[in-house]
């Protein structure tokens, strides 16, 4: 049971028109794991995430969610599968003309038959998880960037998804908030039993939370390493990966 695969990509090529971003991507995300997508800026991490949440169709290859072939079905079928997903976008992507509370309520209003007081209760709960209860009636323009990230996370949790996608959740946050976010992610994984795919540059956070991953290379446009960030740091011999993983280690040694 613990080794059950929830997401799998087979020889996927991602491209925008004729411009290839990444090719030969194969990966398996195990149920309940935290899977890290790593690599330098512009190597296609967000693009990979985009294809995994159904915003970009791979030009080659297969994508399975559970036992279902994601791209083989109809649009309606994909929408159903998407309800298993919760997505935190890189910039939060809150709907700017709604309050934070309304942002989280919208999916519940659209896809459940729950009554407004029940929805309000669930919205409060989700905001309570991320410590943002006091901002429920504020608009996105009235809160800080870190709060927008957390509100985006609460919105991702709206429909109780079992697969969560986070694009650089801790970018732009202070170290304490960022560490708290890591703990929150672990809590959510353990509490909800969710599977999490995370794009991140924050090595300390990756070593702390991720237990599997893939490393994309911008030059050759292929994945060059698979495995958990900790293992890659300790055992991977590829110079690129080594450099990426050890900058942080040097810092750590320097700090202590």
């Amino acid at each position: 049971m613990p080794d059950q695969t929830v997401l799998s990509l087979r020889d996927v090529t991602l491209s925008f028109g004729p411009k290839i971003i990444q090719k030969n991507i194969s990966l398996d995300v195990r149920k309940g794991s935290i899977f890290a997508v790593m690599g330098g800026s512009g190597c296609g991490k967000s693009t990979l995430l985009k294809s995994m949440i159904g915003l970009l169709r791979p030009s080659v290859g297969e994508y399975h969610v559970g036992n279902e072939n994601y791209w083989a079905g109809t649009d309606a079928h994909r929408t159903d599968l998407n309800h298993r997903f919760g997505v935190l976008f890189q910039s939060g992507a809150l709907w700017s003309s709604m309050t934070i509370g309304e942002n989280i309520a919208l999916p519940l209003q659209m896809f459940t038959d729950l009554k407004p007081p029940v929805i309000r209760r669930l919205v409060e709960l989700k905001l309570g998880f991320v410590g943002m209860l006091q901002a429920i009636d504020l608009y996105p323009s009235e809160i800080s960037g870190g709060m927008r990230k957390r509100a985006g996370l609460a919105r991702a949790l709206a429909l109780d998804p079992d697969i969560l996608f986070f694009d650089e959740p801790s970018a732009g946050l202070d170290p304490i908030t960022s560490a708290r976010l890591d703990d929150l992610i672990l809590n959510l994984r353990d509490g909800l039993g969710a599977t999490i795919v995370i794009v991140s540059h924050e090595l300390s956070s990756l070593f702390h939370i991720a237990d599997d991953g893939i490393f994309l290379d911008a030059k050759t446009k292929i994945p060059i390493a698979h495995g958990s960030p900790r293992d890659l740091r300790d055992t991977c011999t590829d110079p690129q990966v080594h450099a990426f993983m050890h900058r942080e280690r040097d810092d750590e040694e320097g700090n202590t």
Partner: protein, 386 residues
């Protein structure tokens, strides 16, 4: 305390509905949970605010073994319980909860902060009217100041001391000018044709068909070409300016300009206003000609006039004074549309809906303003006897 059993709401419909039961034995409470606790069913009970007896130093533990399935719905209930217990001075024995439930419940505050509310102060009618009046006067002041700043930017640009980029002016001008030719042409052609048609029906009765040419000529030159072109530009260019600037506002792009010391009035508004001031007179001329052409086509086909006769009558119908009158009006319209739409964009809020509101407002203010200014011009012309 006596031994008693407090029973939560029970649903007889399904036996796997969420159920809770509170057992009370000598200051030790036991919360027994069973059934399916899923948020989507909408059947999650609310734990009553007075559901726990006030027992300082009391203790509450959980029995969760009969829960069949749960998600955040259960946590919502446990959170209610946590808050009530906090108020009653009872501590929860978290160790009796399974790990996942405990981890989620621990994230939630016992005594949540009050949400920050938007105050919507209620103002009495008279005060509201007065407030709006003052706001409108202030707005006139702000727009005038903006106009002054923009004019200053223009002077500095001429003196070579300013930062308006020529490429911005060119881009704005080509959008406001050449790209607007088609729609301006179509509208003015039809206006000319309609005027000729109406005139022809009436004037024919008096065998004065040839005066259709005068009618169309004077109407286009004095009023129609300038006003119709301005209305088109208010809808087309004014709306676009307001939308663009309010989007920039939402992305903090205006703030970024200000921090660099780049004046939005010089960098954004000057090219926008200038491009309209430059193109409007040309569009006016073009509109006049096309309007007369429209009148000509209708007249030739409906009436018994020659092309030369129509042409001659048109040329003699209006003086250069009327022409200058229309010309000046078109410049004023252009400046007005440019300034107000930019101002509305700068004043807009920061959400996506605000962009739509700003664009709509710019179009409405532009059209109403153009017609109002035209009326003022009519009065002035009457006084001056043009």
């Amino acid at each position: 305390m006596t031994d008693n059993t407090d029973t939560g709401p029970r649903s007889h419909a399904q036996d796997n509905a969420p159920q809770w039961r509170l057992e009370n034995e000598q200051n030790t409470l036991l919360m027994v949970l069973s059934g399916t606790w899923q948020a989507r069913t909408g059947a999650i009970p609310v734990f009553p605010k007075d559901g726990l007896p006030k027992t300082p130093d009391g203790y509450l533990s959980f029995q969760t073994s009969d829960i069949q399935a749960w998600d955040t719905g259960l946590i919502a209930f446990l959170w209610d319980l946590k808050r009530v217990a906090h108020n009653a001075g009872i501590s929860l024995d978290m160790q009796t909860l399974p790990g996942p439930m405990r981890q989620l419940l621990e994230l939630l505050p016992e005594a949540p902060d009050e949400p920050v509310h938007h105050k919507q102060p209620h103002t009495p009618l008279l005060e509201a009217v007065g407030g709006h009046a003052i706001a409108s006067m202030t707005e006139v002041g702000v727009v005038s100041e903006l106009a002054a700043l923009t004019a200053k930017g223009a002077v500095q640009t001429i003196l070579g001391r300013s930062r308006m980029r020529l490429s911005d002016l060119l881009a704005n001008t080509s959008d406001a000018g050449p790209y607007a030719l088609l729609i301006v042409g179509i509208v003015n052609f039809l206006i000319g044709a309609i005027l000729a048609f109406v005139g022809a029906v009436e004037l024919q009765k008096f065998a004065a068909g040839v005066y259709v040419a005068s009618l169309v000529g004077i109407a286009m030159v004095r009023e129609m070409a300038a006003v119709m072109t301005a209305i088109i530009m208010a809808g087309r260019t004014g709306g676009a300016y307001a939308a663009r600037i309010s989007t920039m506002q939402g992305n903090e792009e205006i703030d970024a300009l200000n921090v660099f010391g780049i004046q939005p009035s010089t960098y954004l508004i000057l090219p926008a206003v200038l491009s309209l001031i430059i193109t409007m007179p040309f569009l006016y001329l073009y509109g006049c000609l096309i309007g007369m052409l429209g009148g000509f086509v209708v007249s030739i086909s409906m009436l018994d006039i020659t092309a030369a006769g129509y042409f001659h009558q048109t040329v003699t119908s209006f003086g250069i004074g009327q022409f200058i009158f229309g010309f000046v009006k078109s410049i004023v319209f252009g400046a007005f549309i440019g300034l107000t739409s930019c101002r509305i964009g700068l004043k807009a809020g920061r959400s996506a809906a605000d962009v739509g509101i700003a664009a709509t407002r710019a179009v409405v203010v532009g059209i109403v303003g153009v017609i109002a200014i035209d009326a003022i011009f009519a009065v002035i012309a009457d006084v001056l006897g043009i």
